[in-house]
């Protein structure tokens, strides 16, 4: 069974325009920050090799445009996602308030089989900015995450490389935990078919039999 496990982990980053999605991805993968990233148009991804449960896997991190209307054509890259990262700017109240609709949007577009237990992670970015400008208290963010089913929550600064590594490790852990839960559930029900996201081997999926 384990040999059929996915070797490619697909992570989708969503959130309002300008909250730092591209910066987070680049800081994590390339250890770089640039103040002059352009607004993302369309979609792009970066990959990084990570250890998950002592297995080397490739994390494919998808960065998307932040303006909502541009999501509607993006179904192609939502499909087969293993985790969705919701990012907001702690200095921007509005970007926090929209997290819920980003989550809904993802569930509609990606329509994962296990919508209830699908792994989401929330990241509050730009904590390097002056305290006086912070609009979303940590407490409030944590309360939100708790209410949505104990979503893991991280606060980061992509600019200063604060907590970025930890956040993505958290993402790996969440995926691994989810995978394990899926596996157990399958063993319990005796369902060994390629019916869950986790157990659809990357290779077999790519050969086109999983459509």
């Amino acid at each position: 069974m384990s040999s059929r496990k996915k070797v490619l982990l697909k992570v989708i980053i969503l959130g309002d325009s300008g909250v730092g999605k591209t910066s987070l991805m680049n800081q994590y993968v390339n250890k770089k920050f640039s103040a002059s990233y352009k607004a993302t148009i369309g979609a792009d991804f970066l990959t990084k090799e990570v250890l998950v449960d002592d297995r080397l896997v490739t994390m494919q991190i998808w960065d998307t445009a932040g303006q909502e209307r541009f999501q509607s054509l993006g179904v192609a890259f939502y499909r087969g996602a293993d985790c969705c990262v919701l990012v907001y700017d702690v200095n921007n109240q509005k970007s926090f308030e929209t997290l819920d609709s980003w989550r809904d949007e993802f569930l509609i577009q990606a329509s994962p089989r296990d919508a209830d237990s699908f792994p989401f992670v929330v990241i509050g970015n730009k904590i390097d900015v002056d305290d006086g400008k912070r609009q979303v208290p940590q407490k409030r963010a944590m309360a939100f995450c708790q209410s949505k089913g104990n979503l893991p929550y991280f606060e980061t600064s992509a600019k200063e490389a604060i907590n970025v590594e930890q956040a993505f490790e958290g993402i790996s852990a969440v995926i691994a935990r989810h995978a394990l839960a899926q596996e157990e559930a399958e063993e319990y029900t005796g369902d060994f078919g390629a019916s869950t996201i986790v157990d659809i081997g990357a290779d077999s999926e790519r050969d086109g039999c999983a459509c």
Partner: protein, 808 residues
């Protein structure tokens, strides 16, 4: 030197002549022919590509051979170096035909060619052919005196092997010879030597050294070889004055001169006459197109005037072609040269296909055929050559400068004195220099009507300036929006924040947008600590004003990318604003909330690729990439993120002309895709791979060749549509069959089992049956009109009412 040379102890040693005396060699008895000829120069690994499949490539040697002069002629001597061209043979022989002489060829290939050959090597004489050999055998040897011209195409990106086609004075073309330089021992050695000796890996023409250069050098030792001034690919051998004249003038596709005669000939009843008439347009009318066709035809089949006229007698002639040849409608088809060309190209492909099939019956396995179907075939190679012809016209691609621009306008009235089309043609091909842009763009972007006078334009601009101030005042003076509660205020402030965010990350590498020395006017802005500059502030104001001007759409991400170049050119907010409004007229559909405009363009692109390159389309389909989402960015902001700043200006003004199509940007997309076809076909199997690859093309795309290719693709598309229309109007459905079949041959004949997708197989079948379907979106690409958003989306601007409008 002969004395120093010790022949190796091998059976071929008997072919070496150790004497310099020309008279000796004819006395040496060759095992098979009884005499030998001098092998002066040869080059190995020169291939004939009889079919599109690399498996069928035939390796051989190109050779310059000296034969014994016929008796009675004054014998030439080696010391005088005078050899009559009629005694020199240029030959191509397959490796397999050389037998025991093979070693000699290998040896001569490796000799130093920088000096005339000192040692005489004898080989069996190749059979002399002045015309083409019959179908099936490709070897030839032609007296140099019989060579009219060489068509020489050096290797280039996308066309890996350089090639040479030999045209005889009799009007025949021999198969294109492809120089596989990477396999050729002598070329590798010569190339290395050049790098080493001169630090100059480039050949005489300033281009990269390749095997064909050597062939020209050989010939130049004995005969005059003149490169045509106009057709840079044509080298004339011992040309007459007339030849030189005709190749020194501008190539004109002569569609009238030959026609009357052809039609007259065609009205004769003999089959051969008809065949000759069919051939005439492309041997006569062409100069520029000649290369296109001959090389292509030579590649797919041994095709020449002679074989064509013999075709009707050829038992292998497919019945469809025979029928076509006898159909009077085919003759009338030639009235349009272009259509005849297309028709002939298809016809040649049909012959190639037929002969492939004949052979397939005997030796080809199913896998071979499958591979051939899948391989990257010459459709685009034709295009390549066509693009070469477009490229050749340097004058047309000269940048429009102020002198030229001013010469088009009446000095006193300021009215245009040439046609709008002429202006557009110049800008489309040449682009503007930066001074011209400030004027020309206002016409291209429909701020000024083309037929206006100077005074009218001045008045117009005055009222536009007033209008800009008025629009700007609408939000500038409205405190309820700036500070007020409620949805309207909230929406407006959201838009303002969005604009600010985007402007601060738009083209900051361009000097006018780079500075941060001005304190930010709004202390609450997230950029207040960083600072701004006057141009960034102007950008924000213009975008907020557009948000006011087009309330149904508002500001959407990407617009800042579209405004920045326009503002940078004018550096006048009111002027730039109205130019931007003009640009947005055609770009508006890209930004609609439901993305219907983007979707429509991606669907059109899908259909365009399916029509123009079914093999590639099939591959993309397998890679789940026919959503063409990876072109989203290119289409949304018109390649703004793919090209350098100056290239963007050049590209946009070209596309603004609508000179060929109001949606020329889709042909640019196709040109980009096609340029990377081989990589995509060979290496990219999945959507994410394709997307990544295309995304990373950013900053690597060469603009000029892309524009040229896009133009060639447009013409090809146009011909395809015309051919389809003509076919649909064909009186006899029977005659239409072969052309229909050819068009989508590959799509149609791919085994459905290979794709495992029955829907696509059905699609292919449908195409097979009816020919390519020219859908409405495709046909619209022929129009020079831009696509405007007809109906504004209802209530989009009303914030807080949609599903998630707060975020917009």
């Amino acid at each position: 030197m002969p004395e120093e040379f010790t022949p190796p102890a091998s059976p071929t040693a008997s072919f070496y002549d150790l004497s310099e005396d020309d008279e000796d060699y004819s006395t040496i008895t060759h095992t098979s022919t009884g005499r030998g000829v001098k092998l002066l120069y040869t080059k190995s690994k020169v291939y004939v590509h009889p079919t599109p499949s690399a498996k069928d490539n035939i390796p051989g040697f190109i050779a310059l051979i000296q034969q014994k002069p016929p008796t009675g002629e004054t014998p030439s001597t080696a010391s005088s170096q005078v050899v009559s061209p009629s005694n020199l043979l240029l030959a191509w022989l397959p490796e397999s035909a050389l037998g025991s002489a093979y070693d000699t060829y290998v040896k001569v290939d490796l000799l130093d060619t920088s000096t005339p050959p000192k040692q005489t090597y004898l080989v069996p004489p190749p059979p002399i052919s002045t015309g083409n050999s019959p179908l099936g055998s490709y070897s030839f040897s032609v007296p140099v005196s019989q060579i009219y011209s060489l068509l020489v195409r050096p290797p280039s990106l996308g066309w890996w092997w350089g090639s040479i086609v030999v045209n005889s004075r009799g009007g025949d073309s021999f198969p294109a010879l492809f120089f596989h330089d990477s396999e050729c021992a002598s070329t590798i050695a010569q190339s290395k030597a050049r790098t080493k000796n001169n630090f100059d890996p480039f050949g005489e023409s300033g281009e990269l050294f390749w095997g064909g250069d050597e062939v020209l050098r050989w010939l130049k030792r004995y005969v005059k070889v003149e490169r045509s001034e106009v057709e840079r690919t044509v080298y004339l051998v011992d040309p007459t004055k007339d030849d030189l004249l005709s190749f020194g003038q501008k190539p004109v596709v002569d569609s009238t001169a030959g026609r009357d005669k052809e039609v007259a000939t065609a009205s004769g009843s003999g089959g051969n006459d008809i065949a000759a008439a069919v051939m005439d347009p492309f041997t006569k009318a062409i100069k520029s197109a000649r290369w296109t066709l001959l090389e292509k035809f030579a590649k797919v089949t041994q095709f020449s005037r002679q074989t064509a006229s013999n075709l009707l007698d050829n038992p292998n002639l497919p019945p469809q072609v025979r029928k076509l040849l006898k159909n009077p409608d085919v003759i009338s088809l030639q009235d349009d040269f272009d259509s005849a060309r297309l028709y002939l190209a298809r016809w040649a492909m049909g012959i190639a296909e037929q002969s492939e099939k004949e052979r397939a019956k005997i030796v080809w396995k199913r896998e071979d055929i499958m591979e051939m179907e899948d391989s990257a075939v010459g459709e685009f190679e034709i295009l390549d050559i066509e693009a070469g012809n477009i490229r050749g016209d340097g004058d047309r691609r000269r940048v429009v400068d102020m002198n030229e621009w001013n010469s088009w306008w009446n000095k006193t009235s300021g009215r245009l004195e040439i046609t709008v089309d002429e202006v557009k043609e110049r800008i489309f091909h040449g682009g503007c220099d930066s001074a011209v842009r400030k004027e020309a763009w206002l016409f291209l972007l429909e701020v000024y009507p083309w037929d206006s006078t100077k005074d009218e334009r001045a008045a117009l601009m005055n009222s536009r300036r007033d209008e800009y101030v008025r629009l700007k005042g609408k939000w500038w003076d409205d405190l309820s929006r700036r500070e007020g509660e409620g949805e309207a205020g909230e929406y407006w402030r959201d838009q303002k924040n969005r604009i600010e965010k985007d402007v601060h990350r738009t083209d900051r590498n361009i000097p006018i947008f780079a500075g941060e020395d001005t304190p930010h006017p709004d202390p609450d802005s997230q950029y207040s600590t960083i600072g701004t500059n006057v141009h960034l502030e102007q950008m924000k104001d213009m975008l907020l004003t557009y948000n006011e001007y087009n309330t149904t759409l508002g500001y959407v991400q990407g617009m800042s990318d579209l405004l920045a170049p326009i503002y940078a050119v004018f550096q006048d907010d009111a002027v730039a604003f109205w130019a931007f409004v003009g640009f947005m007229e055609r770009m508006e559909r890209n930004f609609l909330r439901d993305q219907s405009g983007m979707r429509a363009q991606l669907v059109t692109l899908d259909q365009l690729v399916m029509l123009m390159d079914p093999v590639l389309w099939k591959h993309l389909e397998k890679a789940e990439s026919t959503n063409f989402f990876f072109f989203f960015r290119m289409i949304l902001v018109w390649y703004k993120r793919e090209f350098e700043w100056n290239d963007v200006l050049r590209l946009w003004e070209s596309m603004w002309t609508n000179y060929l199509s109001g949606q020329f940007h889709l042909f640019v997309t196709l040109a980009v895709l096609e340029r990377h076809r081989a990589v995509i076909m060979d290496h990219l199997q999945h959507f994410d791979e394709v997307l990544k690859y295309i995304n990373e093309l950013s900053g690597t795309i060469e603009l000029n060749s892309t524009l040229i290719r896009a133009e060639a693709l447009f013409y090809k598309f146009q011909r395809t549509v015309e051919a389809s229309d003509r076919r649909n109007g064909f009186p006899s459905p029977g005659t239409a069959t072969p052309m229909v079949r050819l068009t989508h041959r590959r799509t149609g004949s791919l085994a459905p089992s290979a794709s495992g997708n029955s829907a696509s197989a059905a699609k292919g079948k449908a195409a097979d049956k009816d020919g390519p379907e020219i859908t409405e979106p495709l046909r619209a690409l022929l129009s020079r009109d831009i696509v405007r958003v007809e109906k504004k989306e209802p209530a989009e601007g009303e914030a807080g009412k949609g599903k998630t409008p707060v975020r917009e």
